[in-house]
Amino acid sequence: MTKRKGPFICVKNLTVGYGDDIVIQNVSFTINHGDIFVIMGMSGCGKSTILRSMIGLIQPKSGQILIDGTDIWTLSPNARAQMVKTFGISYQSGALFSSMTIGENIALPMEMGTDMSAKEIKRRTHEKLEIVGLGEYGDLYPAEVSGGMVKRAALARAMALNPQILFFDEPSAGLDPIRSMELDELIKQINKETGTTVVMVTHELQTIMNIATNAVYIYNQTVGASGAPHNILAETKNTEIIDFLTRGQRRRK
C-alpha cells in the first residue's frame, strides 16, 4: 500500500441522535492518512455513536462525514454499502459469528464481497491469522478461545480485505492490561507496516497514551479538546479532561 499524507477523513458539524434525543452536536475533526486517531471521553458521551455514523450505521441529523472527499451520507444506500464494505471494522464484542470457526469468520468478507478463488481466500485467511498470532487456531470456534483471541480474530477479519481505514470500537474492552497492551502493539504495528489509518473509540487511558497520534475528547456532546493526547493534557483547562487523562492524579495534587 502506498503511504499517502494529508487529510483523509473530515467530520464536519456532525449532529447525531436517536429520535428526538441529540447525543452529539456540531462535532468536527479531521483525520490524516496513517493516523491512529482516538475518539475518547467518559462512558455514554457518544463516542460509539460518532463511530457508528462514520461506518454508515446511524444517519446523522446534520453535518458531513467526508472520506477521501466523499460525503458517505449523500451516497445512495447501495453506493454507501459499497464504500463501507472497504472499511475494516472491529466491534466492541468482536462480533464473530458463533456458528463459524475463526477461520471461516475471517474468510467471510472475502467469500461474500469478492470474486476470489477458494484457494486465494484460504491463503489470505491463513496470512491474516498469522499476522494476529492465531495461525493454529483457525479451526476453533469463538466460544473455544479466550476474549483476547476473539479480539485478535476480529482484527484479522477487519483486515481481510486490506482496508485503508480500520475502525475499532473499544478494542480492549474486557481484556486484562497485558492482553490490552499486546492488542495495542499489534494495532500500532499494522498501522506502521501498512499505513492503514486507524480510528478508535476508547476510554482506556493506557491505549490512548500508548498509540494515539491524534485524538478528540468528547465533552458535553461536542469536541472538548483535540490534538495529540499529551498536547491536550498540556493545554486544556477542562477539569474533566485533566482528570480523565491523569486518572484524577493531577487534581489531587
Binding site: R52, Q82, I89
Partner: protein, 282 residues
C-alpha cells in the same frame, strides 16, 4: 451488491409518551399501523431476497441452508413424533367414548385419520415448531443483534435478510410439510395402538378403514397448512429477532413474541384457510 439497511425498529418513530386515555388510544393506533407497515416491509424484503436467490445473487450460503434444514427437520422429528403419537391416542380415546355408544368403534380410525390429515397434524406441528424453532430463530437473531453481528454483516456489505433470514425461511418451508406428513402417520399409529389394545379392533381392519377415509383433498389441505405455517413461523420468528432490543431482557421478550405470534399466526391461517375451503366446498 444490493445491501438494504436493516431498520425495523418502530420505537424511534413514535416519540411522545401518551398523557391521557385518548392519547393512549392514538399512540397505540399509530404504533400498530407502523408495526404492521414495518412487518409488511420485512415480508417484502424476504420475497425480494428469495427472488435474488433464485437468480443466484443472494448473500446466502448453501451450508447455512443445510444446517437450518437439519435443525428444523431431523432434529425436530423426535418432539413432533412424541406429541403427534399422544394426540392420536387422545383422539382415539375420546372418540371411543362416544362411538362405542353406537357400536361404531371402528370409526375411530376414520376420526383420527380425517382430523389429523386435514388440520390437526399441521396445527400440532405448527404449535410445536413455533415453540421450538420460531423461538430459536428469534433468540439466535436477537442475540446476533445484541452482539453486533448483524451490524458486522451490514458493514461487510452482506444483507442480513439474505444471510440470516432467508436460509431459515426456506428451511422451515421445506421441512414443515414433511413434518406434517410424519405427524399424520404417527398420530394414526397412536390411534391404532388404542384401537388394537383397548377396542379389540384388528390392525388390518384399522388400516383398511383409515385408507378408506383418507382422501387426497384432506391430505393435500393438511400439507398446504403445514407449508403455510412454515412461512408464518419462520417470518415471525426472524422478524421478532431482527427487531429485538440489544439486551438480555429484549431477547427474552422477542422470543416470547415469536412463540405467541407464531401460534396466533398458525391459528389465524387455519381459520382463513378453513373459510376458503368451506366456501369452495373442498
Amino acid at each position: 451488491m444490493h445491501t438494504p439497511h436493516v431498520h425495523f425498529d418502530i420505537k424511534e418513530q413514535v416519540k411522545d409518551k401518551p398523557e391521557n386515555f385518548v392519547d393512549s388510544v392514538g399512540h397505540w393506533a399509530i404504533c400498530s399501523i407502523q408495526n404492521v407497515n414495518a412487518h409488511l416491509q420485512f415480508i417484502k424484503r424476504v420475497f425480494v431476497a428469495l427472488w435474488r436467490m433464485m437468480r443466484g445473487h443472494a448473500d446466502a450460503r448453501a451450508i447455512d441452508l443445510l444446517r437450518e434444514i437439519d435443525n428444523a427437520g431431523p432434529r425436530a422429528l423426535g418432539i413432533v413424533c412424541l406429541i403427534s403419537f399422544m394426540v392420536g391416542i387422545i383422539i382415539a380415546f375420546v372418540g371411543n367414548m362416544q362411538l362405542k355408544l353406537f357400536g361404531a368403534e371402528i370409526y375411530v380410525a376414520a376420526l383420527v385419520a380425517i382430523s389429523m390429515t386435514r388440520i390437526l397434524g399441521a396445527v400440532m406441528t405448527g404449535i410445536i415448531m413455533a415453540g421450538r424453532t420460531g423461538a430459536s430463530y428469534a433468540a439466535a437473531i436477537g442475540s446476533m443483534q445484541a452482539n453486533e453481528e448483524v451490524d458486522a454483516l451490514q458493514t461487510m456489505g452482506v444483507s442480513p435478510v439474505e444471510f440470516l433470514v432467508l436460509p431459515r425461511v426456506i428451511a422451515l418451508t421445506i421441512t414443515m410439510p414433511i413434518l406434517t406428513i410424519v405427524a399424520d402417520i404417527v398420530a394414526i399409529l397412536g390411534g391404532m395402538c388404542v384401537a388394537v389394545t383397548i377396542m379389540n379392533v384388528s390392525m388390518a381392519e384399522y388400516w383398511r378403514t383409515t385408507a378408506d377415509w383418507i382422501t387426497f383433498n384432506n391430505f393435500a389441505i393438511g400439507v398446504l397448512h403445514g407449508w403455510l405455517f412454515g412461512w408464518v413461523i419462520a417470518i415471525i420468528g426472524c422478524w421478532c429477532g431482527m427487531r429485538a432490543e440489544r439486551n438480555a431482557d429484549g431477547i427474552g421478550r422477542a422470543t416470547t413474541r415469536a412463540v405467541v405470534f407464531g401460534i396466533v399466526g398458525c391459528v389465524v391461517t387455519t381459520a382463513i384457510l378453513t373459510l376458503i375451503f368451506n366456501w369452495i366446498d373442498i
